[in-house]
């Protein structure tokens, strides 16, 4: 019997916790499928951004098309779709999963299942994906494959007895994984003669071709010169190029048909016009319904970003615009701070997304940034029944105009070794968490579920969690809604002047502690001046914490060694240069590090 192309296709992704070996396994699969010589193998082909590699995470999904000759003698087409591994990119993960029929679940034989893995596996199961479990890192002395298998069966509830025991690093037993993919993951379905329905699961911006949309054809076919329509916006484009993903390159083809994974270009100028999750259809023969599940992603966390050097404002704008071309989830608009000058209010999917953007701006665009404390979006219900969505604390209306306020709440799942349950519960308690439940995964590990206000986890929750569990806890969260809360705006005054960039919104019960810590921190960060400087934390007119920076008593070099004026001059010049880099707040010079330091208080 001759198998059709569709029957010989396997679309799948790999689900793994950070460091559990996803990229290494992907590399091995690419190697074993033999499309590449050793020399062509770039280390970890799927992660092609330096930053991602350093952090051991994948930011943008990508795909690769491979040909595998199986034991049954047939040549199979594998479309391996890479998924982002972090909660901030949850929606992107779900779209990548929607492009697959199966998922290879990689579990570290030494560490077992982690929270992120669990979240993504549940997501995969929701999408009816066939899960193929694989136990990795069996070469480690601490490997306990039986335990890992038991965890998979107990926690996820899928059989794992036959899970291949592999070492991606050492190249052990990779063929078993390939055969499992062929045998267990179903081939795609879909009628190639039906009206076109293609799912956009990712897109990147290319300065020559415009947007390159990564798509999975669910129904129908797509080819060059065809007129297509984006079903969420109704915008139409003409297809310039159709192709598939060779390892490390794009390969132009004539068409893509139902079940295929590939890309199109269509002179699309902005990634916003090819939103992840949207459905592409044939403009001349449109489908009646789009594919399910499209949603526009909205930022959850905001912060102000300012160039350290005010003259670099335009450079920052250009850099943000360029990043936005490739990242539809990044939003920004100009804002103005008394303390920091001109900058931008930027919105992100989450904390990690924010950190990645900051780092990319600093590294790839060589910008020195000052960022303000991150803020979530509060809903302010005013006495005139107007509702404001507030992402910048300085925009909070006068308390007399506020009826009540709401803050976003997330459901957090924390997997933690049992010995640390107490300290994690304590931490969640401190962060105003509401205990929902606890399940034992095994004797030594449990998953704790809490409802937590988002603003309690955007500062330093990750760090606190890590330090209290010696790095053994893993953590995942999703937004579940808003709840009314007793919130206040805390202002910081330096030498009796409010520093707008340091204002933030906080729960009333937390205001005192936070205000005190910030004042203490600023006392360390702001150098002594010729005069005494009070640092105060205030709610409205009420001062709730105070520190004092005493006046500078000594700044003199006793000696010029043997006529070495140059050395002395360099010291003075450095001092003068340092002063130039400070921000003037009234008569006080505040170093940029002070603005950043209050973000990490513990």
């Amino acid at each position: 019997m001759v198998l059709s192309k569709q029957e010989r296709t396997r679309n799948f992704c790999i689900i793994a916790h950070i460091d559990h070996g996803k990229s290494t396994l992907a590399d091995r699969i690419i190697q074993k499928t033999g499309l590449l010589t050793e020399r062509e193998m770039q280390d970890q082909i799927l992660d092609n951004m330096d930053l991602e590699r350093e952090r051991g995470i994948t930011i943008k999904s990508q795909a690769v098309r491979l040909v595998y000759k199986a034991e049954d003698g047939e040549e199979y087409i594998f479309n391996l779709i890479d998924t982002p591994g972090h909660v901030d990119f949850n929606y992107e993960v779900s779209r990548s999963l929607a492009a697959c029929e199966g998922a290879v679940l990689v579990v570290d034989a030494a560490q077992g299942i982690e929270a992120q893995t669990l979240a993504n596996v549940y997501l995969a199961i929701e999408h009816n994906l066939e899960i193929v479990p694989v136990i990795n890192k069996i070469d480690l002395p601490s490997a306990n494959p039986e335990n890992a298998k038991r965890e998979i069966e107990d926690i996820i509830g899928i059989p794992a007895e036959d899970a291949p025991l592999i070492s991606a690093k050492m190249g052990i037993n990779i063929e078993a994984v390939l055969e499992k993919i062929v045998k267990e993951i179903p081939s795609p379905q879909g009628d190639e003669n039906a009206p076109l329905k293609a799912l956009i699961f990712d897109s990147v911006y290319d300065s020559y071709k415009g947007v390159i949309a990564f798509i999975r054809i669910k129904e129908g076919k797509i080819k060059k010169d065809m007129r297509i329509r984006m079903m969420s916006t109704g915008k139409e484009f003409e297809v310039n190029e159709v192709g598939v993903f060779g390892p490390g390159q794009f390969i132009v083809t004539n068409e893509l048909t139902a079940g295929d994974v590939g890309y199109i270009t269509a002179s699309i100028k902005n990634v916003k016009d090819s939103r992840v999750g949207d459905t592409i259809t044939d403009a001349d023969n449109p489908a009646s319904e789009p594919l399910p599940g499209y949603k526009k992603v909205n930022p959850m966390v905001y912060c102000g970003m300012y160039p350290a050097d005010g003259a670099k404002y335009e450079d920052l704008r250009e850099a943000l615009e360029k990043l936005q071309l490739n990242d539809a989830a990044l939003v920004f608009e100009p804002e103005n701070s008394v303390a920091l000058g001109f900058g931008f209010r930027c919105g992100f999917l989450g904390l990690l997304h924010m950190e990645i953007i900051q780092e990319r701006l600093e590294r790839e665009y060589n910008l020195d940034l000052v960022t303000t404390a991150p803020s979530v979006i509060y809903k302010v219900h005013k006495t005139n029944d107007e509702i404001i969505e507030l992402s910048n604390p300085t925009d909070l209306p006068d308390p007399s105009e506020i009826k009540y306020m709401e803050e976003p709440v997330v459901k957090a799942e924390i997997i933690v070794p049992t010995e640390y349950i107490g300290s994690v519960m304590e931490l969640c308690q401190e962060r105003r968490g509401e205990y929902i439940g606890m399940d034992y995964l095994e004797e030594t590990r449990a998953v704790l579920t809490y409802h937590l206000p988002l603003n309690e986890i955007i500062y330093d929750f990750f760090d606190a969690l890590k330090s209290r569990t010696r790095g053994y806890a893993s953590f995942d969260y999703e937004l579940i809604g808003y709840q009314e809360s007793d919130l206040v705006k805390l202002d910081i005054l330096v030498n009796r002047e409010v520093v707008d960039a340091l204002s933030f919104i906080v729960h009333k019960d937390k205001a005192y502690e936070r205000g005190r810590k910030i004042a203490e921190k600023l006392k360390q960060e702001i150098p002594r001046h010729l005069f005494e400087i009070p640092i105060q934390a205030a709610i409205g007119n009420k001062i709730i914490a105070r520190e004092t920076i005493s006046a500078l008593r000594k700044d003199v070099l006793a000696k010029c060694y043997g006529g070495d004026i140059t050395r002395k001059k360099k010291l003075l010049e450095k001092q003068k240069e340092g002063k130039k880099r400070m921000r003037q707040i009234g008569s006080v010079e505040v170093p940029q590090s002070a603005f950043m330091s209050v973000l990490k208080l513990e």
């Binding site: 010729l530 500078l552 008593r553 000594k554 700044d555 003199v556 070099l557 006793a558 000696k559 010029c560 060694y561 043997g562 006529g563 070495d564 004026i565 140059t566 001059k569 010291l571 003075l572 010049e573 001092q575 003068k576 002063k579």
Partner: protein, 379 residues
């Protein structure tokens, strides 16, 4: 005006490195003393020719510890200076010494070559403190050699002291000052301890193992010294320097008054013809160069005019008499007020500067915060 020039000779050897010192000096290279002195004498010879049109008026042999050299080597240097420069008895000719390295023969040799000013590094009068600084001498060594020098006719002696030492009490500093006042040297330097990154103390500090004096205590000790020395007829003429009338260090005054000087020897700094440069800090390189000036000069810097203004002012303001606006204007032929009027006004308002007729000087508060004032005048 630039006809005068000061000479500095650097001797980069010590018996032991003091814990606070990061200066160019070695305590384990004695076998290189002889080749070093050979190269140094070659350098002196060359400068003798280069500077033959100049009037040398001060010589300062510093270190390291010049008096750690064997007598024969020290004599070779003195002889070389004598042969290559016309040394008048009106010169100020200083040699730096460690109280633990002096003796009759050495003092006699110096005298013979017209050395007329002796600088002694005492630092503190408590043997316990001296030990904690890595000093090789005791108070008794100082006492014996100070009086020996007096007996041999040295009439201009400086004593170096340091305050804000780790664990040093107010009383210990007061005792040190009392002792020195009784000894009646003509000149006293009181240096606030600087923790240099590349010193032993610097390394201790980095490890968090150094107990530093607070700024408050440091200033208390400084102003105490100022008060008690002034009461005892010592003139406070520079941030860290005190002297009996007419015994200000001319060599250092030249530096602060923006006069030229030439440094010879390892890592020595020069300022002449509007240029700054220094010799290599590499001992082997210096020795191999056999004193050839052009092959050891490094970091030659022609000072732009705006930087010259700044240097002139910040060096001049180290002196308590400050700078004369008239002198500045005749040196640079430009209006001081136009350049710095605003800044001076601000610094006077902040209480850091004082204006007295034609002169601008640091206030008492300005003495404590001099770097803030100095930085203002740099371009």
């Amino acid at each position: 005006m630039d006809k005068c020039v000061g000479l500095y000779i650097h001797i980069p050897f010590c018996k032991a490195k003091c814990y606070y010192c990061d200066f160019t000096s070695f305590d384990n290279q004695n076998e290189k003393m002889a080749p070093y002195v050979f190269a140094l004498c070659e350098e002196i010879k060359q400068y003798g020719e280069i500077l033959q049109d100049r009037q040398v008026d001060t010589i300062f042999i510093g270190g390291g510890t010049p008096t750690v050299l064997p007598l024969a080597l020290l004599e070779k240097i003195l002889k070389s200076l004598k042969e290559n420069f016309k040394i008048e008895s009106s010169f100020e000719f200083t040699v730096e010494s460690n109280p633990g390295t002096l003796n009759k023969e050495l003092l006699y040799l110096l005298k013979e070559y017209r050395v007329n000013r002796l600088s002694m590094g005492l630092q503190a009068t408590q043997n316990k403190i001296l030990k904690s600084l890595g000093r090789i001498h005791s108070l008794e060594d100082f006492y014996n050699n100070y009086h020996l020098a007096r007996q041999m006719g040295y009439q201009n002696i400086n004593v170096d002291l340091i305050f804000s030492l780790p664990d040093q009490t107010k009383k210990e500093w007061a005792d040190t000052l009392k002792y020195i006042i009784k000894s009646e040297p003509e000149h006293i330097s009181c240096y606030s301890l600087i923790i240099e990154e590349n010193s032993y103390f610097g390394r201790l500090k980095k490890e968090g193992k150094l107990k530093e004096a607070s700024d408050e205590l440091d200033r208390e000790l400084y102003h105490y010294a100022r008060k008690i020395l002034t009461e005892n007829k010592y003139h406070h003429y520079e941030i860290s320097n005190f002297s009996k009338k007419g015994f200000e260090s001319r060599h250092n005054m030249n530096c602060w008054k923006y006069k030229p000087y030439v440094g010879m020897g390892l890592g020595a700094h020069s300022f002449i013809n509007g240029q700054r440069y220094h010799n290599s800090y590499n001992l082997d390189k210096y020795i191999q160069s056999q004193g050839k000036i052009e092959s050891i000069k490094e970091e030659i810097e022609s000072i732009p005019l705006t930087m010259q203004y700044g240097e002139y002012i910040f060096l001049g303001l180290r002196l308590t008499e400050g700078i004369s606006i008239k002198d500045f204007e005749s040196q640079f032929n430009i209006s001081f007020h136009a350049l710095f009027g605003e800044k001076v006004k601000k610094l006077i308002e902040e209480g850091l500067l004082i204006k007295k007729q034609d002169r601008i000087q640091l206030s008492l508060k300005g003495l404590d915060l001099a770097n803030i004032v100095f930085a203002e005048f740099l371009p």
